[in-house]
Each structure stands twice: as C-alpha cells, then as structure tokens.
C-alpha cells in the first residue's frame, strides 16, 4: 500500500517538474526573441538552464519509472586555445581573454546540437501529458509511471536519423509532401526577406553610398540562404555568381593609397571606392535586385493557394469536431456556430452524421493541395535560380580567379619543394661525400705506413656510405616514394598503411591506375592524414577507402580518434587543400569534437582501366 502512495507522490512530483518546465520554456522563448533582435547574450544560458530540467527528467525516468535514457548531448566544446601571439582567435576576430571565444563556442555547441530542439519540444508537450499522470497513477499505480517513463524515453532519447527510404509507404508520403509544403513556405519567406532587404539597399545607394557595399553584403547573405536552402533541401542547385572582392589597395612608394586619380593617406577610402565600383559592375548585384522583386511574387502565386487551402481544411476540421460539439454541449447560442459555418461557406451542420459526411471534404482540402507541393517547390526554386544562379560569364570569371590562385599556390609549393630538396642534398649527402673524400685521402696516405689505422678508416668509410644511402633513400621517398612508381597509388597507400602504427584497413573498388601526378598528390595527402590521426587525433584504428566513380577519385580516411580537426589551424591540412587545388580537387573534413574524423579527398581524374605497367623509362634505372 505504501508503494501505491509513493507512486502517487512521484506522479505529483513529475507533474510539478513538467509545470516548472513551462517557465523554462518561457525563458527560452524570451531569450530567443532577444537573440532575433540581436541580443545574443541570453540564449545560450537560457537553453542550458532548460536542459537541466530535461536532465532531471531523464534521471527520474531511470530511478522512478525504471527506464534508463542515455544522455544524448554532444560533448562540451574544448577551452579556446591561446595563439602563440597571446591572443584568442575566433574566426576572423582576435580577443584578449578567452571569455568571448568560449561564449561563442558554447553558443554554437548548444544551437547545433539536435538534442536541444528535442528538449524544447519535450518541454512543450510534457505538461499536456503530465496533467493526466496523477489521475492514471491513481487508477493503475506504478504502471502509469512506467508508461510515463516510456513517453519520456520516446521524446528525450537520441533518435538515429533514419533515411526516408526505411519509412513505410504512408508515412513516407506524408513526410515527403508536408516537408515540401514547409519548404514552399520557407522559400516564400526568404523571397519576402529579399524584398525587405532591397529597401535599405536603395536608400544607401541614393544617399550615403559608401555604405552600399556593406548593405549589399547583408542582402547577399539572404540570397545565399535562399541558394543554400534550394540546394540542400530541395535539390535544385544554385551556385553563387558573385565575383571575388577586389584586392586591398596597395601602398604606393610615397606612402599614399590611390584610387583612380584620388590619393589618400588612409587605405579606408580607396578600399571602399574599389569595393563600391566592383559591386556596381558585378552583374550579379543587379540580378539579385530583380530576383528580390520577382521571387516573392512568383513564390506567393505558387505557395499561397496551397497554404490557404490547407489552412481552410484545418479550420473546417476544427469547426466540425471541436467547436461544434463544444457549442452544442455548453449550449451557448447556436448562432455563433452558425456564423462560423456560414463564414467558412459550409452548409449548416448540426448533427454528428452531417459532420461525418463533411469530414472527407475537409480532409481533401488538407491533403489534395499538398500533392502538388513537391512539384511546386521545385518550380519556386527553379525560378529563384533564374536570377540568383550563376551565368556562363560569372562562371568563367570565377574559374579564372580560381585558376589564378591555384596556379600561384602550385608554383609556390613547387619552389618551396625544390628549396627543401636542395637544402637536404646540400646539408646531407653533399657534406657526407666531402667527408668521405677526405677520409679516402687519409687512407691513401696511411695505407703503407699504418695499415691498421687505414683499415679502421675504411670501416668508418663503409659506415658513412651506408648512412649516406639511408639519407638518400629518405629523400627519394619524400620526392616520389619508389613503391608509388613501381605499383601505383593503391599499393602505395597499402604500404603507407602498413608502416603507420595504426590498425589500418584499406578497401579499393577499382583496378588500374589514375594519372601519375594525381597519384602522387593523393598519396602524400593520405600520408599526411595518417600522420595527423596519430599525432593529433590520438586514433588507434583507421579505414581508408579508395573509390572511382563519376569521373572522380574519392578517398575517404576515417579514424576513431578524438576529432576536433580544423583546417583553418593545421598547416598540414591547408597543405593538402593547396595540393588538391592544383587538380581542381577538394578536401572535406568532418571532425566533431569527441567523434570520429572523416576526411574525404575528391579529385576529378581519368582511370586507366587496364592495369598497365608504367611506360618504359629509358634513363638508367636506380635500382
């Protein structure tokens, strides 16, 4: 019997917790509104505060309801690191103390974690469920607590994101169509935002025009969001068409900065002027303006009818099954109900039978327009692409500037490489050969007078020649590893994996060899990634996957280390990016702190499908 009363007590405690959650929710909501208006200080702490409630609920579910729920949160971000120059860096700003970088890291950590959204959703729904809890506990005892534990676990557990293909037919249909409907609204909203941004842009263009670049930058951010949403959510790829910003003005010999015929002591004015000029001349700026006017119009035509019909269906459904019974039960004036029906243009419905007949019409109003949503949202995105996408000219211009940059990188890297080889040869082999020559002279002098000393010297000489060979071997390995020229990329990667202290697994899905320069580039990139996994990632095992499909070589290196790799920091990763850039390849790095690191190299290249041996080299062999 005491157990029964204990259950009742616990049910009330859980109800109290749920009601307290409403307060947390209100705090989180207010802080979110403040975040939207630019006051970002409160959001992080408020969410962390609400998170405490969810943590308590998980603990209680374990202790009272007998259901253990593992905490789904990502590990906390690491402390910001001090740069060698004593500053703390976050993106492109420097800070004197770690306070602000830490604050921003935490904000990112909280807002990126899917568990945050889950917690907040739970806080909304939980009071509705918890209200029933004491009543049910009164009826069924501890069984209700167990149900409550299930409910908490269902809402607060980490749910692996299922690919839509695993859903059953009806659920997939609903998911796909209502998602498309929501995307329609999102595109419409973004179109409106574009239009809103247009106003200040024009004001600064006519008035304080030096502010025009800044304003244009902001409206480009909105257009970029449209592009990203369209590319990632809807699958209509929209590329950024903008030209690269002009280079910063260069200081003249007399210490002045020049723009046109104007000289100034401060670089600010010429920099503004050249940015203004390049933005005015960039066609993409004006295409954005056209898009800002037309996009909301077209989106409205394509999405508002769907929204109206679906909304109308929902209200009709509510009127039929919620307001009608309520007004009939309470008996407060049938006139109200009648007005509502006539407002909606429905025939007057007073009995459940009539309501049952009208229900399919309401349901049809909700579901039939949504049938067209996937198609309509594609139309919206395609129309957006018409003016926001890149043109042939902008693609060419971007390509030229990209090629210019990668060419500079490549020539720089090549020169640096040659310098390194020269230095190694000069300091290593060359000086060793000089020393050996001198020792040989000594042997020549001693061989008749002191044969034992001469003999000892020749032993030294043998040792020295062997050391020189070892050094030469290392040097050759750094330029082009022999196994790479003998066997090609796949076996070279296998050899590198064997030499690494990690437990490595290599899988390959193609035969034959790719172009030689690409082989070398990929090989060194993989070696660098393996070294990183050992040195910084503290990994113990690694898998390397080489695939060739769609005219591109894809190499994926996954380790089980501590994650947190950042290309902005490591010179090695930047070096890989630079090497890959010369072949139009790219490096994608996914490395959440505390998780596995996955690096993917992608290089467009041909595959010699026949595993041919490399062409005969007529110069004398070294081996």
């Amino acid at each position: 019997m005491t157990k029964y009363w204990q259950s009742i007590g616990r049910a009330f405690a859980l109800l109290g917790l749920a009601l307290a959650g409403v307060f947390d929710l209100a705090v989180a909501f207010v802080s979110f509104c403040l975040l939207c208006s630019g006051l970002f200080f409160f959001f992080g702490p408020a969410v962390l505060y609400a998170r405490r409630r969810a943590v308590t609920a998980r603990e209680l579910a374990g202790r009272w309801c007998g259901i253990d729920i593992p905490a789904p949160y990502r590990p906390e971000p690491p402390e910001p690191e001090r740069e060698p120059d004593g500053w703390y860096r976050r993106e492109n700003s420097l800070y004197k103390t770690p306070r602000w970088p830490k604050f921003f890291l935490q904000l990112d950590w909280i807002s990126d974690d899917p568990a945050t959204a889950r917690d907040l959703g739970w806080l909304i729904l939980n009071p509705l469920v918890s209200v029933l809890l004491p009543v049910l506990t009164g009826l069924t005892g501890s069984l209700a607590l167990r149900w409550y534990g299930r409910w908490t676990s269902w809402r607060l557990r980490e749910v692996p994101r299922r690919p839509s293909s695993t859903r059953s037919g009806l659920r997939r249909w609903l998911h796909e169509h209502f998602e498309a409907f929501w995307h329609q609204l999102a595109l419409f909203g973004l179109g409106l935002a574009q239009l809103v941004m247009l106003a200040p842009q024009f004001v600064v263009f006519l008035g304080p025009w030096p502010l025009f670049p800044t304003m244009t930058q902001s409206s480009r951010a909105v257009a970029d969001t449209f592009r990203r949403v369209s590319t990632e959510w809807i699958g209509v790829r929209i590329d950024r068409p903008y030209l690269l910003p002009p280079p910063f003005p260069v200081r003249r010999a007399d210490g002045m900065y020049q723009f046109g015929q104007q000289l100034s002591e401060d670089p600010w004015w010429p920099a503004r002027m050249s940015r203004f000029k390049s933005m005015i001349q960039d066609r993409a700026t004006w295409r954005d303006v056209v898009s800002a006017v037309l996009n909301p119009l077209v989106s409205a035509v394509l999405s508002l009818p769907v929204l109206l019909l679906v909304g109308y269906g929902f209200i009709a459904l509510q009127t039929l099954w919620l307001w009608r019974p309520i007004s009939q039960i309470w008996g407060t004036g049938d006139t109200d109900t009648i007005t509502m029906f006539s407002l909606l243009g429905l025939p007057e419905i007073t009995t459940n039978g009539q309501a049952l007949l009208a229900t399919p019409i309401a349901l049809a109003l909700i579901f039939i327009p949504v049938v067209f949503s996937p198609w309509l949202v594609k139309l919206q995105a395609r129309f957006g692409r018409l003016f926001l996408g890149s043109t042939e000219a902008s693609r060419l211009a971007q390509r030229v500037s990209r090629l210019e940059r990668t060419r500079t990188d490549t020539t720089d890297a090549q020169a640096e490489e040659l310098r390194r080889i020269e230095r190694d040869l000069h300091d290593g082999i060359q000086s060793r050969l000089v020393a050996m020559g001198m020792k040989l002279g000594a042997v020549e002098a001693l061989i008749d007078t002191d044969p034992t000393a001469a003999k000892k010297l020749t032993a030294d000489l043998r040792q020295a020649s062997s050391t020189a060979l070892t050094e030469l071997r290392e040097l050759v390995r750094g330029i082009q590893p022999p196994v790479l020229s003998e066997r090609g990329l796949v076996d070279a990667v296998r050899a590198a994996a064997m030499d690494s202290p990690l437990k490595a697994e290599v899988s390959v899905d193609f035969d034959g060899r790719v172009e030689r320069p690409v082989e070398s580039c990929v090989y060194f990139a993989v070696c660098e990634l393996l070294t990183n996994a050992v040195k910084h990632g503290e990994a113990r095992a690694v898998t390397i996957e080489l695939r060739h499909d769609g005219g591109a070589l894809r190499v994926t290196v996954t380790d089980n280390g501590i994650g947190g790799a950042n290309p902005a920091r490591g010179t090695g990763l930047r070096g890989i990016e630079r090497r890959l850039g010369a072949f139009d390849g790219k490096l994608t790095l996914v490395s959440p702190p505390g998780g596995t690191t996955t690096a993917t190299l992608e290089i467009p290249c041909r595959l010699d499908s026949v595993p041919s041996s490399p062409k005969t080299n007529t110069s004398s062999a070294t081996d």
Partner: protein, 219 residues
Amino acid sequence: MPARLSTVLAEDQYLLRDGLTHLLAAHGFDVVAAVGSGPELHKALLKHRPDVSVVDVRMPPTNTDEGLQVALAVRREIPGLPILVLSQHVEQLYARELLADGSGAIGYLLKDRVFNAEQFVDAVRRVAGGGTVMDPEVIAKLLAGNATDPLSSLTPREREVLGLMAEGCSNAAIAARLFVSEGAVGKHTASIFSKLQLGPSDDTNRRVLAVLAYLGGTL
C-alpha cells in the same frame, strides 16, 4: 669448403652485376647466369633451377618491380626455389608478398648489405639452405608499427628473439647476438611457438610460420 652452389644473378646495372658475380664466385658460388632484365631472368630460372638466385627488384623492361614479380611467378611454378631479393628500398608490403607462400628459402635485403661481404654471403647461403632472411629495416618498421594480436602476448625478450629469427639467424647466432646460452634461446623459441600456436613440425617450417605471424602474415 661446402659444395659449389649454382647461382643465377639478376641486376640491370652492369657495374653492380659484375661486382656481385666476382664476389659470389670468390666465395665459392657457381654463377651459371648473370642477366639484366625480367624476361631473361624468368628464362634463366626455369632453365637452370639454381640452388640460389640473387634478384634485383627494379629492372627493365618496365623499370618497376619486375624482379619481384618474376620471383613470385617462378616460385608459384617451382615452390620453394631459393631466391634472395635485393632492393634500393624495403617495403613491408613486398616482404609479406614474398613470405606469403610460407615455403621459406626466401630473402629480402637492402642493396647496402652487399657492402659487408661476409654477412651478405652468409645470408645467400642461409636462403639456399631453406632459411628466411629479412632486412633489419623491415624488422625495425614492424617493431615500430602495429602489433597484431597474438604477438602482444610475447615478452619483450621473445619479440627480440623473433625479430632475429626473422632476420634469418639460427639459434646459435641469436645466442651470440644476445649474449645468452643457446639453451636459453631454445627455451624462448619454444615459448614463441607455443604462444603463436604453431604445432610441432619440422623446425625450419615453424620458424617460417613464426616469422609470417610476426609480419602479420595472414594475407
């Protein structure tokens, strides 16, 4: 003086080929053929079936791993044909390929080892006798690298003994290198064999298998 062993020599650089021919002849080997390319080597090995052969990895016509490929191909036709492979660089990958058939009588050395004539000739003789000779550099890479599971149960001393075994040393030679009695080495090898679960068979074969395990040889 042991019986003169018939030898095939494959090396594309004339100076080194000539030097090796003289060196081997001076140490009582009968060099029946000295060739400079892969196809010639293939023919010579099949024709002479030498007691031992010394083969360079990189040779014409492709100047890649011609020698290694011929060695592997011929040993598929004539299992256990003793071959000592020489190279300017050593790779674990190649070592495993050479050891994969588990029939012993195989060697893999850096070319630098030729400088020390006595040790080199000794290695050639051990290969001819059915032994396994791995370059110390391969062994060092393995020691620095990943230990596969059965090996982690070995004591450091046993690993040392196994390493020397992989270099091709006999128990007596290992005893001399580690300054212990031959009996102590015998105890270590027995313990290694039991830890690697190598059942009783003839000792040479077990040594090869142990070395294979050492090289993570489940190919």
